[in-house]
């Protein structure tokens, strides 16, 4: 089954390459999205079928990450049906877009399913290759700048992560394996000094890909310049892939019982991410960049929850799910706004509610979700994170956390309210009214599903999902 998920898209890519047909591209993307989700759900029926593979495995520790990728990819595939109709490019270029999209998803899938650190690293590097083209897709001066920064900064980050892997093999001593299970089982005998040094390299290296401050510089540019479905995938799934690898290495650190230093580094990077997000969101002038900084903020919260441990691990997984669902919806809705107003400038988008009510309410609901208004899943996760800080008597950190979140909430609320309910400008209003017909049903539907999931799961978490989350923490 795992081979199916990794090989089918390659076959699709070959057919698409020769066919160069827009409809066929969309059909293959949708089929692969459904197949991807079906395989994920198949895990709950026959879990043993997905284990015992030499290199790839679907197990309790990565199933949540896989399912998030499946759901978001399906939503993006549905959105893409409407979005691709508005792309005025040649069949060849659309084929390149579809092919790279599939390669991007298959790289992320490989990264999630890998049970070997070296292999996961290769797939993470593969995501850079595929997504660089997608960021550069519009071929404008700005998109090439964003793609260049993305490739260059991420390549350096990944290279540093590779140094971390080399140092991890030094820490291993006589063990000669990068398999996660082997690493965790033998962690007690590892050299603590080299293990800590390797973690710092891996955290900084893959933290670049994850978008943690101070190595986040590519993220606002790439997220704002990529086509909106790609921005949704970058923010809601790619960052998770990098985080999964960091989490797996952190589990080795925990098993080796030398986590004190790693916790401090994670906390520092987490709070720094919140600080950077708060400062830049306050002055933001571009709504897609606003969403990118919000991703940096949420990655910071994930790092903080990882460092806190205990009940914060539960919050971590809830936050991961909630952020992915809501942020994907937010980015897809930003795609609708961009189609309508043909600009990413906040000051040029006013009176959205008078032009497109559905997009407006999706924009507001995504904002409420991402800013953790109950019953959003993020409310639950942030509440538990704060509780964990109080239990561990980190009072100052708790105040700082709340203070930075309040600034972020204020900054985003200001923008969203102005964009939706602000005084309309006639010039932009006319352009937007002409473009309303471009927004089809498939460009609203996925966001509705994603937001419904995020809000319903915030109130009621089914028992099976609760068990999966608990197993992810233990695994």
């Amino acid at each position: 089954m795992i081979s199916l998920v990794l090989l089918v898209p390659i076959i699709f890519c070959i057919i698409m390459f020769f066919a160069k047909n827009k409809i066929l591209n969309n059909v293959f993307i949708n089929i692969y999205a459904l197949l991807h989700l079906s395989v994920g759900l198949g895990y709950f029926i026959k879990p043993m079928q997905f284990a015992n593979n030499q290199y790839f495995e679907l197990n309790s520790s990565n199933i949540i990450f896989y399912l998030i990728l499946s759901v978001i990819f399906l939503a993006v595939a549905i959105y893409n049906n409407g979005y691709s109709k508005n792309l005025n490019f040649s069949d060849k270029k659309i084929m390149h877009y579809a092919t790279m999209l599939l390669i991007f998803v298959v790289s992320m899938t490989g990264g999630i399913l890998s049970n070997n650190l070296g292999l996961a690293w290769i797939f993470i590097e593969g995501t850079t290759l595929a997504s660089a083209y997608l960021i550069y897709f519009n071929k404008t001066k700005h998109s090439i700048e964003a793609a260049w920064k993305y490739v260059f900064i991420c390549s350096i980050g990944i290279a540093l992560a590779f140094v971390g892997i080399i140092l991890l093999t030094v820490a291993e001593g006589s063990l000669n394996s990068l398999n996660y299970a082997d690493l965790i089982n033998n962690a007690q005998s590892f050299n603590h000094f080299w293990l800590n040094v390797s973690f710092v390299f891996i955290l900084f290296g893959l933290g670049t890909k994850m978008g943690l401050a101070p190595v986040h510089f590519w993220l606002p540019d790439a997220h704002s310049e990529a086509p909106s479905p790609i921005s949704a995938l970058l923010s809601a799934t790619l960052l998770n892939c990098a985080f999964l690898v960091i989490l797996n290495v952190y589990k080795v650190i925990l098993a080796a019982n030398c986590y004190a230093y790693a916790r401090i580094v994670l906390l520092v990077m987490g709070f720094l991410s919140l600080f950077v997000a708060a400062v830049f969101l306050y002055h933001t002038t571009n709504y897609k960049r606003m969403l990118a900084y919000s991703s940096i903020e949420n990655m910071g919260i994930l790092a903080i929850a990882t460092a806190l441990g205990g009940i914060a691990y539960y919050a971590l997984i809830i936050h991961l799910i909630g952020h992915s669902l809501i942020k994907a919806s937010y980015f897809l809705t930003s795609g609708n706004i961009l189609e309508l107003f043909e600009t990413k400038k906040i000051k040029s988008v006013r009176g959205l509610i008078e032009i497109d009510k559905k997009t407006s309410w999706l924009w507001v609901a995504s904002f409420l979700g991402i800013c953790a208004f109950p019953p959003s899943m993020l409310f639950m996760s942030e509440f538990i994170t704060i509780k964990a800080m109080l239990i561990q008597k980190h009072y100052i950190l708790c105040i700082l956390f709340l203070f930075l979140l309040t600034i972020i909430l204020y900054a985003m609320a200001k923008v969203v309210i102005k964009m939706v309910f602000g005084q309309k400008s006639e010039e932009k209003f006319e352009i937007a009214e002409k473009n309303v017909s471009k927004i089809t049903f498939s460009m609203y539907f996925p966001q509705v599903i994603l937001l419904t999931l995020a809000f319903v799961l915030g109130i009621y978490l089914p028992e099976f999902l609760d068990i999966v989350i608990r197993n992810t923490i233990v695994g």
Binding site: L129, I144, E145, W148, A159, I166, T169, D221
Partner: protein, 216 residues
């Protein structure tokens, strides 16, 4: 013998720091590739034959021939000759690189009990090369210089992986090759595209995207 090659490999970084001519940078990359080939051929007889074969072919073919050829082609296409606007004068650049390299030598001389699994000499030089490359990336202004320093950093990481005195999994070798792939295809491709789009190879021209107002 191999220590001599490793020292020469470290010294190439000093040459890279002291010169502004991009063609000299490309030649340095070629020399580094040849030195890495010689290091692989002479120093790692404890590795299985297929690993040695893979490493020697990779270093000679990719690092010493293909990458320099490719970069040379890009140089001609973009008519780039010199990177004269570095943030720091070449003399100070050379001085700082020398200090970092000296630090690398010192690290290899100091006996650290936990450094049992690695060849300290190789490790110290490799670390110095990585740090010098990262530092040069921050001070150079030409995009092509940044690509060249990225490749020297990759070479440093390659030497670092060789410094681990045990059989590295084949996977790691594939990882190194993939990095080379990134260097050639993506960076090379983007360099050409940037030149076509912007008509220049200055990093300063890639600073339009910012958080204040700009035309989208």
């Amino acid at each position: 013998m191999e220590n001599g090659f490793i020292i020469l490999f470290g010294l190439t970084m000093l040459y890279l720091s002291a010169t502004s001519r991009l063609i000299a940078h490309v030649k340095t990359i070629m020399v580094q590739g040849i030195l890495l080939f010689l290091i692989c051929s002479t120093a790692f007889s404890h590795l299985p034959w297929y690993t040695i074969a893979f490493l020697t072919i990779e270093t000679l073919l990719v690092k010493a021939i293909l990458i320099p050829l490719f970069l040379n082609k890009v140089l001609k296409k973009t008519h780039s000759n010199r990177d004269t606007d570095a943030n720091i004068a070449h003399f100070y650049c050379l001085l700082i690189s020398s200090i970092i390299l000296f630090g690398g030598f010192m690290l290899s001389v100091v006996e650290i009990p936990s450094l049992t699994m690695i060849n300290p000499f190789c490790f110290g030089i490799a670390l110095a090369v990585i740090i010098i490359s990262l530092w040069l990336i921050t001070i150079k202004h030409k995009i092509l210089s940044n690509v060249i320093e990225f490749i020297t950093m990759e070479n440093g990481i390659f030497l670092l992986s060789l410094s681990v005195a045990k059989e590295m999994p084949m996977l790691v070798n594939i990882g190194v090759l993939l990095d080379v792939f990134i260097a050639i295809y993506i960076l090379g491709l983007f360099v050409s595209q940037i030149n076509t789009e912007l008509g220049d190879m200055e990093v300063a021209h890639l600073s339009d995207l910012k958080d204040c107002e700009y035309n989208d």
